[in-house]
Structures are given as structure tokens and as C-alpha cells.
Subunit: 324 residues, 2 copies
């Protein structure tokens, strides 16, 4: 096992949890996490990379257990100041009309330090992968974490009610409660994979797609030119852990999005979604009945416990993705 | 007194204190503070306006008494995170060489809320004067506070040791301890006065120049096209409170800068500096002996207590600038 090279295609929370299963079990130099940056945004002038930060904070045991994102022991002084300004602005309808929207995205004081650091470094000419390397080192992690690209890539969500909006406006601003008719990855065509991404995918003995949202967390990674083609070619070595368990997303709107984008909210829908790029689908015990339908698509179905509620289950799930 | 229109040309700390003397005594609709923006900078992607914030925080009784800038009751969580990143970067000499400089400028968590608000509003298309109006209102102030311009204006300081550097690099980064050979106001020629600035200066019965640093706090205000010309023409109605008392600056490097830029560090040096734009110089009792030298320059010298150590002295000094 210890001589396998592993690449993990990552969104945020689900990917971070699965990565915990790999760490210690796959040697650091043989494990590469390739992360989504389609959720990134510039807010208040700050470059925010939610999925990268969720992975780092989770692996550093610093993530807020309650929220699943951001830092434990956080304070909210900056947001309280912003909220005061927001009140003033909302009393002034002219100002409220003209894009002063302020406090819909929570930024903790400690977490702000990360965004301030990243932004300053990028303004100083550093690339996102270089900044990420410094952040990973600062949190004491021995992890090769690569943004899929250093270029600007933005997941845009088409909604009937609000037109095309950014992922964060959809996810946080509207709490993913509005129907979606399409997803687009702005900038993807012009993006190039960050240094090391292609080599990690080509050199991996196994490529694991984390149990992240297929439509808005994994698809933006695959949309970077070259990435999907590698997975298509290496399909037999690619395994996905289903983010759908018993017809529901464990977290977030993956189930609704699958339906809204023309699939069913089931492990079969997941298998269909990934059929071109994946050889194996790992599904939860509760979905064992669906294994034949997945096999009928020409994919292998592996049934195990996929709900990472304890370190043992998490490690076992990670192990399963490599051995089955 | 209450029917006089007053315009105060402001730097940061000294100006904020003098403004406290005017508030309540000159009706708000007759008082306009016109503030320096040459100290402004973009740091970590944030638009920071130190003089505007010092004025607001001081008049709101929220300024840190100990520091003279920033907020009382501040926390420093974001800076602590940044310091951790800074340590990582400084262990990596390559990174340290390439402009990752991080934690030289202290940003409190509460204060960060102001910078985040200002930056978001400006990125959303608001002008600096509009943002400032919202900030003033949020802090419960009834004050007409105008940035001298909405355009980019940057005080640049020529140093023998470090070449030309920004004001904040000089003032904070090098703690104003390096010799200065010249000062330049980048962007001034292209700047236009913010709405209301020209009207306030033209309509004022008295224009007061605050006891701020002549070279780096007041000169950038005068450098905005049109402003100096109004003061030259209205010279008889312009009064400056000397920032030099007994040959020393009360705060900061005004005394050294005067000498380095070819004047003497005295109230006479101040009078010479402002001779074209000022009719009256208010000097401290300790400098009474210099009054004849000031009068010899064709300026009126008014001798009083200029050290604003109590509200009464502050109010009396403000009163003196209008009546003498």
C-alpha cells in the first residue's frame, strides 16, 4: 500500500474528511490533493479560497466542528464592525441599491488573517499554489495540496429567480435554496493546470474523486483543460466515493443539483454523472441494492460504510478506495 | 461665532484633536473638515485611509488613547494569524525576497471591519467621500468630513537609504527614522477636489490649517489642483496652528522633516513654510519670543496655549483660531 501514488480530486468539507483517512497511511510524498478553486472569490478586496482553507483547517484539526468550515475558537470583531456599517447603509435606500452588500459572508477574525496573507502575497506576485504551500506549512501539515489552477476560475450558477450568480451568492447568499438550471465555469477555457497537477494525475496509481458535490465542486476541477482527458484515459484507475447516500446529500445541495441538472439523486445518478471518467463507484451499505444498476453502466460498484463518523471508518473508506 | 463658516484642513491625530474643539461650538452645517488622503494605501487588498479613520474614531471617542490611532478595546486575532504566516515565510528566504512583507502594519480586528467595508464599497463603485459619509454616520457623528479628493493621491518620500518609498513605509515601516530628501505627491496633478471641497474653502469665513505635519499631511491636501490657489487668494482668512512647539513636533517627525526640507524646526520655520497661504500663525506660549520674527514675514502671530491636554484648552484654541 505504502508504495502507491494517490491523487485526490477535492472539493471542500467531504474531501477534507476523506483526506484525513489517507494521511499517515499514504506517505506524504505519494499523496497529492488537487483542489477546486471555482468557489474562490474576491470579497472586500480579499482573495478567499474556501475549499483550500477547509482542507487545511480540517487536516490541522483547527476547523470549527460546529460549522464544518472556518476556525475553531474564532472571534467576530471585524464582522461586528461591518454589521454596524451595514445597518447604516440599509437605512439609506440609495446606497442599499448600489451594491454595498456587506455582511452576507461571515469572516472570522482569525480566518481573516489567512485571507489577508493570501491577498497580499498574490498582489505581490505570488501564485496561488505558492501561497497555498506557505499556508500548509504554517499549519504544520505535511501535505501536497495543489489548487487545480493558479488562474481565475469561477463557478457560475444559472438560476431562474436571480439569473446567473456566483457560486457563493448561490451557496451562502441564497443558502442553496433556489432552483438551478445550469452551471458554467467562467475562465476555465483559458486556465492551465497548476504546476504538478498533470504530473500527479498521470503518475498516480489511483485517482480518487472525493465525496464532494459533482456539479459545483468536482466539475470545475475537471473543467481545467487537460484534466478531464487524463481521467477519461485513466478511467480504470479512477474511483469516486459517492456524495449521495440513501438518495440524499450528506451535506449541501448535491442531491437537488443532480435532479435539477437532469440526473437522479441516487448513487446511480452519481455513477451516470461520472461514467466517462470513473471506473469504480464506492457506495454506502444503505445503497447496496443499487450496485447492479451501477455495474450495468459498465462501472464497478464497491459497497462499504461511507459515512465518515469516526477516524476508523474514515481510514477504512480511504483504504477501500485504493484496494478495491 | 455661531454664524461663521469654518473649513479645517486636516492631517490625522493633531487635526482630530483640534476638530474636537470645534464640534459643538461651530454648528455642524457650518463646519467642514477636509482631510489628507496621501497616507492612504492598499494593503492586503484593503483600502486603508488612516487620517480619515483617525478623525472619525477620535471624534467618536472610540480611538485608542494609548496609541492615538485605531480603536479602543481592540483585538488582534487577524494579525496573530498573519504573524504565523510571516514566520513561515521568513524561514523561506526565496519567499522573503519577493515582496511577501506582511505584518509591519498593525490592523486590529474591529478596525479591519472599517477597511473591509470601505474596500467593498469602493470595489462596488462608491466614491471615497460617499463611503466616508456612511462611516461618519455609523459612528454617530454629525460632521461634514470630506477627503480632499476621491482620486488616488499618494505621498511618496525620497530617502537616501531606501530610495523613494510610500509614506506608510517611511512612517510605520521605518518608524520615520530615516533622513528624507524630498516629498512628492503621486497622482496629485491628475486629482480633482472631492465634491464640496472647493465650495467649503470658498464659502468659509475662516480656513484653519490643523497642527498636522506640514510636509506630509497638509501639503498633499494643498497639492490637489485648485486648493492651494484658493488659500493663496484667501490668505488673510487662513490661520495655521503650529505643529511645532518649543522647536519640537508634539508627535511624529514634523521637526526633522522641516529641517531636512530646508527650513528650521521652529514656529518661524512653520511660518516660512506656510507664508504664501496663511495670514495668521497660532503659536504656543513657550514660543512667544518668536512672534516678532513671524510678524517680520508679514504674518500675524497669535500666542496662546496650543497643547490640547484638556477639553477646555482644546476648545479655547479652536476659538482663538476663529477670533484672532
Amino acid at each position: 500500500m505504502s508504495d502507491m501514488n494517490v491523487a485526490v480530486v477535492c472539493g471542500g468539507v467531504g474531501a477534507a474528511r476523506l483526506l484525513r483517512g489517507f494521511v499517515g497511511f499514504v506517505p506524504p510524498e505519494q499523496l497529492t490533493a488537487i483542489a477546486n478553486v471555482g468557489d474562490d472569490m474576491v470579497l472586500h478586496g480579499l482573495h478567499i479560497s474556501p475549499d483550500l482553507d477547509t482542507i487545511v483547517y480540517t487536516l490541522a484539526d483547527a476547523v470549527s466542528a460546529e460549522r464544518g468550515w472556518g476556525l475553531e475558537g474564532e472571534t467576530w470583531q471585524a464582522m461586528e464592525t461591518i454589521a454596524r456599517y451595514s445597518e447604516t447603509v440599509s437605512r439609506n435606500s440609495d446606497a442599499a441599491d448600489s451594491g454595498w452588500d456587506l455582511d452576507w459572508f461571515s469572516l472570522g477574525d482569525r480566518d481573516l488573517g489567512t485571507h489577508l496573507f493570501r491577498t497580499q502575497a498574490i498582489l505581490g506576485g505570488a501564485k496561488l499554489d505558492e501561497v497555498t504551500q506557505q499556508i500548509v506549512a504554517t499549519w504544520g501539515l505535511d501535505l501536497r495540496l495543489l489548487p487545480v489552477t493558479n488562474d481565475r476560475l469561477r463557478t457560475m450558477v444559472d438560476t431562474a429567480d436571480h439569473g446567473e450568480i456566483s457560486f457563493q451568492e448561490y451557496f451562502v447568499g441564497h443558502q442553496h435554496s433556489v432552483p438551478v438550471s445550469g452551471v458554467r465555469f467562467d475562465g476555465a477555457e483559458q486556465a492551465t493546470p497548476a504546476p504538478g497537477v498533470v504530473d500527479a494525475l498521470e503518475g498516480a496509481d489511483r485517482i480518487v474523486i472525493a465525496p464532494s458535490n459533482p456539479a459545483v465542486s468536482i466539475d470545475p476541477v475537471l473543467a481545467v483543460p487537460g484534466v478531464r482527458a487524463i481521467l477519461e484515459r485513466r478511467r480504470d484507475d479512477v474511483v469516486v466515493v459517492s456524495p449521495i447516500v440513501g438518495g440524499k446529500a450528506l451535506k449541501g445541495p448535491a442531491d437537488r443539483l443532480l435532479v435539477e441538472l437532469g440526473r437522479e439523486a441516487s448513487v446511480v445518478g452519481v455513477a451516470e454523472w461520472y461514467a466517462d471518467v470513473v471506473g469504480t463507484v464506492v457506495i454506502d451499505n444503505v445503497d447496496a441494492d443499487h450496485a447492479p444498476a451501477i455495474e450495468a453502466l459498465g462501472l464497478k460498484a464497491v459497497v462499504t460504510n461511507t459515512i465518515m463518523s469516526t477516524p476508523d471508518i474514515t481510514r477504512s473508506l480511504a483504504h477501500t478506495t485504493l484496494t478495491r
